[in-house]
């Protein structure tokens, strides 16, 4: 066997090998990227879930606060508070005949509308 024939027989197909290596790298890269994307998807999904939960909790807390405000500021509740409050309970109620109503008159002039008590005085 001549040297030339051996050299020809042992030659490395570098171009083809490189092509396959690149294909394999791309395939692996694509596979890893797919896994990475999937992982990201799951992780972001988890974040979405946490945010949704927080949002729902905030909405609920807001609704609870609005209800609490309505409950505490209703006429009945305020009246009860007034009765129970040491200072407020000493205040005298302004009865209807002591109220003076202000109404708009022609000419944009504001005047008091007399009530019974005032008229009799």
């Amino acid at each position: 066997m001549s040297n030339n024939r051996r050299r020809h027989a042992n030659v490395l197909p570098l171009a083809s090998l490189a092509t396959w290596i690149i294909v394999a790298i791309f395939a692996c890269g694509a596979g890893l990227y797919y896994v990475y994307c999937k992982h990201q998807l799951i992780a972001r999904g988890g974040q979405i879930r946490v945010l949704e939960k927080e949002l729902a909790e905030l909405r609920n807390l807001n609704e609870a606060a609005v209800t609490r405000i309505a409950r505490l500021s209703s006429a009945v509740a305020l009246r009860d508070r007034q009765r129970g409050d040491k200072i407020l309970s000493k205040y005298m109620e302004i009865t209807q005949d002591h109220l003076v109503y202000v109404s708009e008159r022609p000419g944009n002039e504001l005047r008091t509308v007399s009530n019974v008590k005032q008229t009799t005085q």
Binding site: G45, R49, V76
Partner: protein, 608 residues
Amino acid sequence: MNGSAKKRALAACCVLAFGFTGFSWRLVDIQVGKHDFYSNLAAESHGGKQAIYARRGAILDACGQPLAQNDPVRTVVADASLIKDRAELARILSGPLELSEAALVEKLSREHWSEKRKRNEPSQYIVLRKNLPEAVANELGAKLAELKIRAVGFEQDSIRIYPNREMLCHVLGFLGFVDGHKKDSEEGEKQALEGVERTMDSYLRGRDGVRYTEHDRTGKELVPYRGQERPAQDGCNVRLTIDLNLQDIVESELASAVKQYHPNWAAAIVMRPQTGDILSMANWPAFDPNKVDASPIASRRNRAITDMVEPGSTFKIVVVSGALHEHLVHPTTMIPTENGYFNFKGRLLKDTHAFPELSVHDILVHSSNIGAAKLGIQLGDQRLYEYMRRFGFGDRTGVQLPGEIVGLVHPVYKWTPLSISRIPMGQEVCVTPLQVATAMCVIANGGALVMPQIVHDVVDSEGKTVASFPPITVRRVISPEVAAEMRDALIDVMGKKGTGKSIRVMGFTAAGKTGTAQRVAEGGGGYEKGKYVVSFVGFVPAVDPQFVCLVMLDDAKVEEKKNYGGTVAGPVFAKIAERTARHLGMEQDHELLAQQTKAIELAEHAND
């Protein structure tokens, strides 16, 4: 390769071929043949249906003040199969849930019989506590997550809150369980049982949504694999025609009257005569819709629409209007009133104030029974019946409240020979307080019957109007001229000669009619002696009225000679009307106010 080697290779190939064929067949069988079975199995173990709860809409007054709202709460549930240390979990939960550790351990130890495994197994759904406040639940949830305890879950729930408690309770209604056993276990969904909650339930309820989800083996949802989703549609907000401040005025005045007269029940209504909008509707006894079970059933009735009574003299507006509209008489036409005693078909009809004759105008002013009966006779059975129906008696008014009754108006063929003399003065006929108020609106608005409305509009969660309820004129009952003649007579009812002479709405000309009816005995069969249903219905101001107000009290505890509509219900009407007029920004007539004040002073001097 020799012959035996070839045979062995062939045998190996055959085995491999059979093996792969077997595997391939199995693969095809699983993937194709049993596809549905396995996909369902996978869906069962990983898939789930998640409910998205819709919020119930709020009920608001005309100015947007909340009357009924939701308070978000949580139901705490446990899966006993996931508990490692019951005593430890009970110790953690005890404080926030406000339950004893022993009670919690008992709950967490619950078991159920498993048919599949033929043995008792820890329950996977145990309700530990209902109505846990949102903030407490959030705090507890965070603590459990930190300790990696998965056995406890929190379900979304809400309770209905009525911030004004008893105020407007009969109109708002309440939610509750339909049957008793559910009430005991507090399980199942509450339903709208009364009031606006019930009539507007289709708008208020909203629609729950649903989401198809997948979860991993720890039960955590895999958000990217969410399937089909139908979002929840929150309930709409219902805005009423009720003015809460006015309601407060009416209820406080009614409460004062109840304190003074101790009636069986009392009702008051304030309406806009032109539109039929109900500005206020109050009843006594009342109840707290936040604690429905603590109140007697009788107190939950909206008597303004569910109770019928004989109206008494307020009903005279029907016969007089009818006679005037049919041109049978004029306001000045004189009608003989027989000096207070009229024998009709063998039965004596009496007047409280005896007159030989009265004009049609004065029949109303003096509330003459004989005069009304004679006008009824002149009008005739059929026409009187028609006018009753045209004024809305014997029909539901159509207000958006449940349980409204039609009252009792007998058809002409069921009348007795005496009916024609009894019905004109408000006997042998039964009406609801709302029907009386609506009939007075006919006079106040110039002759048209309007449908009472209590719901103004329905608005969705984005503020878009979903439904509105414009004023509805049912029919024209009398001409505007007749309505004006009636109005003049009703003004004089509250004048010096009238049955409502003691009723003064300071600074305003008011018109109205008193009513005193004997109380019909329970179960029928005549009247209860000494017991009356007194009422007053009127409007302010007399010209271009802004509101109609009715006050009715059943069996006021007052001495008999003072138990009249003009003396019991009338003053309550005056107080309500005066405060209502001020609240609505109506301007007083200063001349009239001075005259009224002088009259009061003179009366006080005369008493001294």
